[in-house]
C-alpha cells in the first residue's frame, strides 16, 4: 500500500534520514520506533508531504507521491496527526472534524457564503458523520467545546478523529501516547484496534513508548541515526539486542569502565545537598507533566536523570532553573529557596542550565560567545581556563558557532557554563544527535568538570554512558521518579531501566504477520495490490524461510494454479 524506497533527507550537514526503505500493507498497523533524533518524525513529514526528501521515492497505492503537495496526499487518502498537537484551537471539536471532510468534498466558497441549499445539505451530512466518528472515539461530550480548551490527552484523540474525518486509507500517528499515563496508553491501544476495524484504515504508528507500539503493531521498524536498524514482529523486536542497545546506549563503550572506577570518589552521605527539590510539580497549560518529583544533588556530584521521552526530565530541569514556574513544591539551592525565581536570578546564584538545543548564538564567534559570560559574572572571564579544558575550541575561536559541528557546539555551551563559575551545571540531552565517539569525549569533559568541583545534573538518552560518569541516577517514569540509586546499582540492574524504557511486561500477541524489504519491487507490487495482508504475510514468511524473493514464491504458486 505504501512503499518508501531509499529516502534520504539532509538538514544542512546533518543527515536526518539515510536511505530508509519501508513497506506497509493494507490493513496493517505498522510500528515505527527509535530513540530521540532517529528520524522518525522526519520520515513522517516526508510521507505526509510537509518536507521533500533529497533522494528516494515514495509510492502510495502504486502511484508516486513525488509531486503531490500535502493537500493532494490527503485527497489520495493519507491523513496524519501531530506530535505537537496542531488542532485548530479556536474552532469547536465538531468544526475541526468537518474541515477535512468538506475540504475533500469540493465545496464552493460562494455558495457557502450564500447558504445555498447545496451547501446546507452537505453541511448536515458532514456534521452527522462527525458525530459518528466522535462516538467511536468516545468524544461525544466534547463536540461543542473549543478544541484549544481541551486537555492534551483529549486533544490527541481529537487529532485522531480529525484525521479519520477525511476518509483516509492510511493513518499516520505521530506519538499519540505522548503525555499519557500507563492506563490511558492501554486504553489508546484498544481504541486503535477499534478504529482499524470500524474505519478500515491502515496505520503507521510512531512512538517512543514501546508499551503502546509493541502490543498494537503487527510489524515494527526500528530507526536509529536515520537508518533502519531492525524490523520484525513485535515479539522479535523486543528481544533484539541491537534494539535494546540503541535505546539504552552503546554497550560497546563498556571498555572505559575501568577508568571510571578509579575516578569515582566516595561521597559522604551526610553532606548537605547543594540542590534539593521537594514535591515538585509543573506543566504547560492544561497538562501537568511532572508531579511529586524529589531529588537532590550534593556538591561536586554527577547525577543523571534517565527515562523514556516525555517522562518529564526536561520539564524538571526547566522548573528548577526558573524557565517555567513550578505549580507546587520547593526548590532549594545552596541553602536558599529559589522556587519560582526568575531564570536570570537563578543563574546568578551559580546554577547554570544548558537547555536542549544548547541555546547558542549561531552568528557569534566562539570567543565572543565565551566573552558574553562577563555579563553575568561582572568581569572579564578567564578564557585561558576554558581553552585549557577545551583545547579544540582554541583552534576554532574565531569561527562562528553556527558553523561548528554539533559536538563542538556542545563544547562551547559547556565552556560557557564553566566560565560562569557555577556550583551546579544542568545539561539537557547533551548527546542528542551526536555520534557515539563525540558523546564519549563530552562525557570525559563532564568528568573534568567534576574534578574542578562543579556538580553536574545530566539528562541523557545514552543510559550506559551516563551511568558510567554519574555517581547517582534518577529514573523518570510518567512524570515522576520511578527509581533512584547509585549508578553502580542501576548499571547492575539493567532490567530496572529497560522496563522504564521498553514498557515492562509487554504481553505481545503476535498476529501472523510478515513484512520486509522486498528484493524485487515490481513483483512485490502484484502481491501488495491483489492479496489480503494475511495471505501475503504467509507468503512472505515462506519466502524468507526459503531465502527467495516473495515475488518468486507468488509466481510459482500462480503457475501451480494455472496447471490445476
Amino acid at each position: 500500500m505504501l512503499r518508501v524506497r531509499d529516502v534520504t533527507v539532509r538538514f544542512g550537514g546533518i543527515v536526518a534520514l539515510d536511505g530508509v526503505s519501508l513497506d506497509l500493507n493494507r490493513g496493517e498497523i505498522l510500528g515505527l520506533i527509535g530513540p530521540n533524533g532517529a528520524g522518525k518524525t522526519t520520515l513522517f513529514n516526508c510521507i505526509s508531504g510537509v518536507i521533500r526528501p533529497d533522494q528516494g521515492s515514495m509510492f502510495f497505492e502504486g502511484r508516486s507521491l513525488k509531486f503531490a503537495p500535502p493537500h493532494e496526499r490527503a485527497r489520495r487518502g493519507i491523513a496524519r496527526t501531530f506530535q505537537n498537537l496542531q488542532l485548530w484551537g479556536s474552532m469547536t471539536v465538531q468544526e475541526n472534524l468537518t474541515v477535512p471532510m468538506d475540504a475533500l468534498g469540493g465545496r464552493n466558497t460562494f455558495s457557502d457564503a450564500l447558504h445555498l441549499p447545496f451547501s446546507t445539505y452537505a453541511e448536515r451530512a458532514s456534521s452527522e458523520r462527525a458525530r459518528a466518528i466522535l462516538h467511536v472515539l468516545e468524544l461525544d461530550d466534547y463536540a461543542r467545546t473549543l478544541a484549544g480548551d481541551l486537555p492534551a490527552g483529549i486533544q490527541r484523540r481529537v487529532e485522531i478523529a480529525r484525521a479519520l474525518a477525511g476518509r483516509p486509507q492510511l493513518l499516520l500517528l505521530d506519538e499519540p501516547a505522548a503525555g499519557l499515563d500507563a492506563r490511558e496508553t492501554g486504553h489508546l491501544a484498544e481504541l486503535l484496534h477499534t478504529v482499524r476495524e470500524r474505519f478500515h484504515v491502515s496505520m503507521l504508528l510512531v512512538d517512543h513508548d514501546m508499551s503502546l507500539v509493541l502490543p498494537v503493531s503487527d510489524y515494527v521498524y526500528v530507526l536509529d541515526f536515520g537508518k533502519v536498524l531492525a524490523k520484525g514482529r513485535p515479539s522479535a523486536i523486543q528481544n533484539d539486542p541491537k534494539v535494546i542497545a540503541a535505546y539504552l546506549g552503546d554497550e560497546s563503550s563498556k571498555e572505559s569502565n575501568k577508568s571510571r572506577d578509579v575516578v569515582a570518589m566516595p561521597r559522604r552521605k551526610d553532606e548537605a545537598p547543594l540542590l534539593e527539590v521537594k514535591q515538585l510539580a509543573a506543566g504547560y497549560g492544561h497538562l501537568e507533566v511532572i508531579r511529586d518529583v524529589n531529588l537532590a544533588v550534593r556538591p561536586g556530584e554527577v547525577v543523571a536523570c534517565i527515562g523514556a521521552n516525555g517522562a518529564g526530565k526536561t520539564t524538571t530541569l526547566r522548573a528548577i532553573s526558573g524557565m517555567i514556574r513550578p505549580r507546587s513544591g520547593t526548590v532549594t539551592f545552596d541553602g536558599r529557596d529559589i522556587t519560582g525565581k526568575t531564570a536570570e536570578h537563578i543563574s546568578r546564584q551559580g546554577l547554570i542550565h544548558i537547555p536542549e538545543g544548547r541555546g547558542l548564538f549561531p552568528n557569534l564567534s566562539v570567543e565572543d560567545t565565551l566573552r558574553l559570560v562577563s555579563n553575568s559574572i561582572g568581569k572579564e572571564p578567564d578564557l585561558a581556563t576554558a581553552y585549557r579544558l577545551f583545547p579544540k575550541l582554541k583552534e576554532r575561536r574565531h569561527q562562528a558557532v553556527g558553523t561548528l559541528s554539533g559536538g563542538e557546539q556542545q563544547m562551547v555551551a559547556l565552556a560557557r557554563a564553566v566560565l560562569a563559575r557555577p556550583q551546579l551545571v544542568m545539561v539537557d540531552e547533551m548527546s542528542q544527535g551526536l555520534a557515539p565517539t563525540v558523546v564519549r569525549q563530552l562525557f570525559d569533559i563532564i568528568r573534568m568538570m567534576r574534578d574542578e568541583g562543579i556538580a553536574v545534573l545530566i539528562v541523557e538518552q545514552f543510559v550506559d554512558s551516563a551511568l558510567e560518569v554519574a555517581d547517582r541516577a534518577y529514573v523518570f517514569e510518567h512524570g515522576t521518579i520511578g527509581h533512584s540509586g547509585s549508578a553502580a546499582e542501576l548499571r547492575a540492574d539493567r532490567k530496572l531501566i529497560s522496563g522504564s524504557y521498553l514498557g515492562s511486561a509487554v504481553d505481545v500477541v503476535a498476529a501472523s504477520n510478515g513484512n520486509g524489504h522486498h528484493a524485487d519491487p515490481a513483483l512485490m507490487e502484484v502481491v501488495s495490490v491483489k492479496l489480503p495482508a494475511k495471505l501475503k504475510r504467509t507468503l512472505e514468511e515462506r519466502a524468507e524461510r526459503e531465502g527467495r524473493p516473495t515475488g518468486a514464491v507468488v509466481m510459482e504458486l500462480l503457475e501451480g494454479v494455472k496447471r490445476v
Binding site: 496526499r73 496542531q86 474552532m91 474541515v99 468538506d102 475533500l104 453541511e123
Partner: protein, 351 residues
C-alpha cells in the same frame, strides 16, 4: 438551532441594521453626513481585514491601497469611458480582486512580520509610484484626480452635494449585505477552511486544504471588499486624490480593526464610525476654553488617541472592543438564564 432558522435570524438582523443605519444621519448637518458615508467606506476597509486577518490570519498593511485602486478604477471608468456607475463599481471590484491575488502571492511563502513588511512596501509603492506618478495619469487622472459630479443608480440621483444621502443608503445596504455574507461564510465549509489556515497551516495542508488556493482567494476577496468600499469614494467625495489612500490610512485601518475586534464582523461598523467621526469631531469641537485655559485637541490627537487606546485594549480586552462586549453579553445571558431557572424551581417548590 437549525441552519435555516439561524439564517433567518441573520437576515432579519441585517435588515434591522440596515433600517436603523440608513436613517441615522438624516438629521445631521452636511459635514457629518459626509462623515457617515466615509464611515461606510472605511467600514468596508475594516471588513476586508476581518476576512483576511480575523478569519484567515494573514497580515496586510495595504488595505487602503486596495480601496484606492477601487476608487481610481471607478473614477477612470466613469470619467474616461463614461460608463454607468454600477459598471464602474464592478470593474473596480474586479481590479482590486486581481491586485489582491497578486499581493497574496508572497503570502504563500511568508507570514507574520515579513508579510506585514512586504504589504507595507506594496502600500508605499502604490502611494508613491502609482497614485502620484505621471506615468499612471491614465489611471489616476493626473495630479487633479478624477472629478465625479454624480450618477444615477436604480433610478435615483446620487452626488456629493444635493443628493448625498442617496449614495449613503446604497452604501449601507451593500455593507449590510456583505456583512451578512461574511457571517454566513464564517460558519460554512469555506469559512472553516479559512480558520483552519489561521490556527495551523501545517494541519490544514495535511488535512486536504489547498493552501495556495485558499490564501489567494482570501487575499482576492479581501481586496475586493476594500475595493468595493473604495469604488464609492469618488461619488461620495466628488473627486479622487491619493491622500485618503496613503500608507498611513492602511496602518490606521489595521490598528482600528484590532482595536474593535478583528475577528468580528460588527466590529467593522464600529471601526468605520470611529475612524470617520472621531477626527472630524475633534477638529470641529476640539478647541475652546475651559475657564482661563484654552485647549486645542486637533486632528493630530486622533493618531495618539488610537495608539493609546490600542495599548489599553490589548491589555484590558485582547479580543477587541466588540469581542469583549460580546463575551460580556453572552456571560450575562447565561447568568440570567440560570437565575431564571433557579427562580422557576423556587416557584415550583413554593407551590
Amino acid at each position: 438551532m437549525t441552519w435555516s432558522s439561524r439564517l433567518t435570524v441573520r437576515v432579519l438582523l441585517a435588515l434591522l441594521a440596515f433600517a436603523v443605519l440608513a436613517r441615522l444621519p438624516a438629521g445631521l448637518d452636511i459635514g457629518f453626513q459626509f462623515d457617515a458615508e466615509l464611515a461606510v467606506v472605511w467600514g468596508f476597509g475594516i471588513l476586508s481585514l476581518v476576512l483576511l486577518t480575523g478569519y484567515v490570519g494573514q497580515v496586510s498593511l495595504c488595505q487602503a491601497t486596495f480601496a484606492g485602486v477601487g476608487a481610481y478604477a471607478a473614477g477612470m471608468m466613469v470619467s474616461t469611458y463614461h460608463v454607468s456607475y454600477l459598471i464602474a463599481v464592478a470593474v473596480a471590484v474586479l481590479a482590486a480582486f486581481a491586485l489582491g491575488v497578486v499581493v497574496g502571492l508572497p503570502a504563500l511563502r511568508l507570514s507574520g512580520i515579513t508579510l506585514a513588511i512586504v504589504t507595507l512596501g506594496i502600500a508605499l509603492v502604490f502611494d508613491r509610484y502609482v497614485f502620484q506618478d505621471a506615468a499612471f495619469a491614465w489611471f489616476t487622472g493626473g495630479s487633479g484626480g478624477w472629478r465625479v459630479d454624480g450618477a444615477r443608480m436604480f433610478g435615483v440621483q446620487m452626488d456629493s452635494s444635493k443628493h448625498l444621502l442617496a449614495a449613503y443608503v446604497l452604501l449601507v445596504g451593500l455593507f449590510c449585505l456583505v456583512a451578512l455574507l461574511m457571517v454566513n461564510l464564517h460558519d460554512s465549509g469555506a469559512g472553516r477552511r479559512f480558520r483552519a489556515i489561521r490556527d495551523s497551516e501545517l494541519a490544514a495542508s495535511t488535512m486536504g486544504v489547498n493552501l495556495t488556493r485558499y490564501k489567494l482567494l482570501a487575499f482576492g476577496m479581501s481586496a475586493a471588499i476594500a475595493g468595493l468600499g473604495g469604488s464609492f469614494y469618488p461619488l461620495v467625495a466628488g473627486s479622487v486624490s491619493p491622500q485618503p489612500f496613503w500608507l498611513f490610512t492602511s496602518l490606521q485601518l489595521a490598528a482600528i480593526a484590532v482595536l474593535m475586534g478583528v475577528r468580528y464582523v460588527p466590529a467593522a461598523a464600529l471601526g468605520g464610525v470611529f475612524m470617520a467621526f472621531v477626527p472630524d469631531v475633534l477638529t470641529r469641537f476640539g478647541h475652546g476654553n475651559v475657564g482661563r485655559y484654552s485647549y486645542d485637541i486637533s486632528f493630530d490627537w486622533f493618531q495618539i488617541a488610537v495608539g493609546v487606546l490600542l495599548i489599553i485594549q490589548l491589555i484590558l480586552m485582547p479580543d477587541g472592543v466588540w469581542g469583549d462586549l460580546r463575551g460580556r453579553i453572552a456571560h450575562a445571558a447565561a447568568h440570567a438564564k440560570s437565575a431564571a431557572r433557579a427562580v422557576a424551581k423556587g416557584r415550583v417548590r413554593v407551590a
